[in-house]
Amino acid sequence: MLEPHQKVAQKVLETGHAVPLDKESWENLRESVGIERIPPNASGHPEAIEEIRKIAKKTGFDKLVQGKEKQE
């Protein structure tokens, strides 16, 4: 697994999304087009992210995508 792919997978485990709402400017962008700053997905639902982490722990996916520095 290439490192960039590991990083994308890690983002999903950290935020619930491969492309996260990780800057205020993205929230501003949403507001500028007339929709709520935080969408109704995992970006506003920390319990959803927790569920993804539990799944990854159960399947061992969290270990598969762990960075090399963490494995050592």
Binding site: A18, S32, A42, V65
Partner: protein, 306 residues
């Protein structure tokens, strides 16, 4: 008659990078008397290239978790992303047909008190519009026809493939996406590489941006060889990102300049239905933000507000 309702699966790129698509689809579905319901707590689909390629059971479990949100409400899902559609439709199909996979997935879902039941269907915006509304009704809603505007298409890969299983359209001779786009009144421009990947999919953009952009460049060159177009329409935000922001990246990496407006099909329909670009934020596309530019209003046949 009750409105047809769909759970709206946003995915990642539409709500977090191209919110104009999220706003546009709400306008279009409302105009066509269809209801979009929020899917509270939905996560990444998950990305089929990264998750599906490395761990099928984890991929299917996370997709199934998303599907359980819709199952609980009893309505089908719709999404405007080819990648999300690939994960959700494929997982839904595989889980309904592969008992061993379903058992493994439900064992994983049990740790979060969920269960995949297989009670709902997944629709792309394209086939929700084509099958549930119909071209005639869509066409009747058009008040700003794109008369004389030359339109190239990029259907992308996943919404109609694998064709034997999905049975949505003929992936090698597709017509549904074209017919949907043609309701806008724009003139379809064929080009040789219309059906190749935008370059982003299959986790290629993540692994090697330059290789990914090589595909994008090939598409643009193929279109230019065919005489060019005034705009390109896609049904996928990841393709949209690659084709839109990709033009800025190509300029940096290959020192070649392309200036083509890239629209998601629901943005095209919103405009054709008479909505103003400002109503859904057409100018917020990353290409325009990064280049500090605007859509080519004249070529699109739209009068921009001063």
């Amino acid at each position: 008659m009750a409105k047809k309702s769909f759970y709206h699966f946003l995915g990642c790129i539409i709500p977090h990078r191209y919110p104009s698509v999220e706003r546009a689809v709400k306008l279009v579905f409302k105009d066509l008397d269809m209801q979009l319901l929020d899917m509270e707590g939905a996560t990444c689909c998950p990305a089929p290239g990264v998750f599906g390629s490395f761990d099928r059971v984890t991929w299917a479990t996370i997709a199934a978790r998303n599907l359980t949100i819709a199952e609980a409400g009893g309505h089908p899902v719709t999404t405007g992303c080819n990648g999300c559609f690939a994960s959700l439709w494929d997982a839904n199909y595989e889980l309904k047909h592969d008992e061993e996979l379903r058992e493994a997935v439900n064992e994983n879902l049990a740790v979060i008190d969920r269960e995949f039941k297989g009670t709902i269907e997944v629709w792309h915006y394209v086939d929700a519009l084509y099958s549930h509304v119909g071209l005639e009704k869509i066409q009747s809603r058009v008040t700003r026809p794109f008369k004389g505007v030359r339109m190239a298409l990029h259907p992308g890969c996943h919404w109609m493939r694998p064709k034997i299983l999905k049975q949505k359209d003929d992936s090698e001779r597709p017509h549904i996406f074209r017919e949907l786009c043609e309701t806008s009144g724009a003139e379809y421009v064929p080009y040789k590489d219309e059906l190749i990947c935008c370059g982003a999919g299959g986790a290629v953009r993540t692994a090697d941006l330059k290789i990914a952009l090589g595909f994008t460049k090939q598409k643009f060159d193929s279109l230019n060889e065919a005489g060019g177009a005034d705009m390109m329409i896609t049904p996928c935000p990841f393709c949209e990102l690659q084709l839109d922001a990709g033009q800025v990246e190509i300029q940096k990496l290959f020192d070649e300049e392309y200036n083509l407006d890239i629209l998601h099909v629901v943005e095209l329909l919103a405009l054709a239905f008479g909505h103003e670009p400002d109503e859904f934020g057409l100018t917020t596309h990353l290409q325009y933000m990064q280049r500090k530019s605007e859509p080519n209003w004249q070529r699109l046949g739209i009068e921009a507000k001063a």
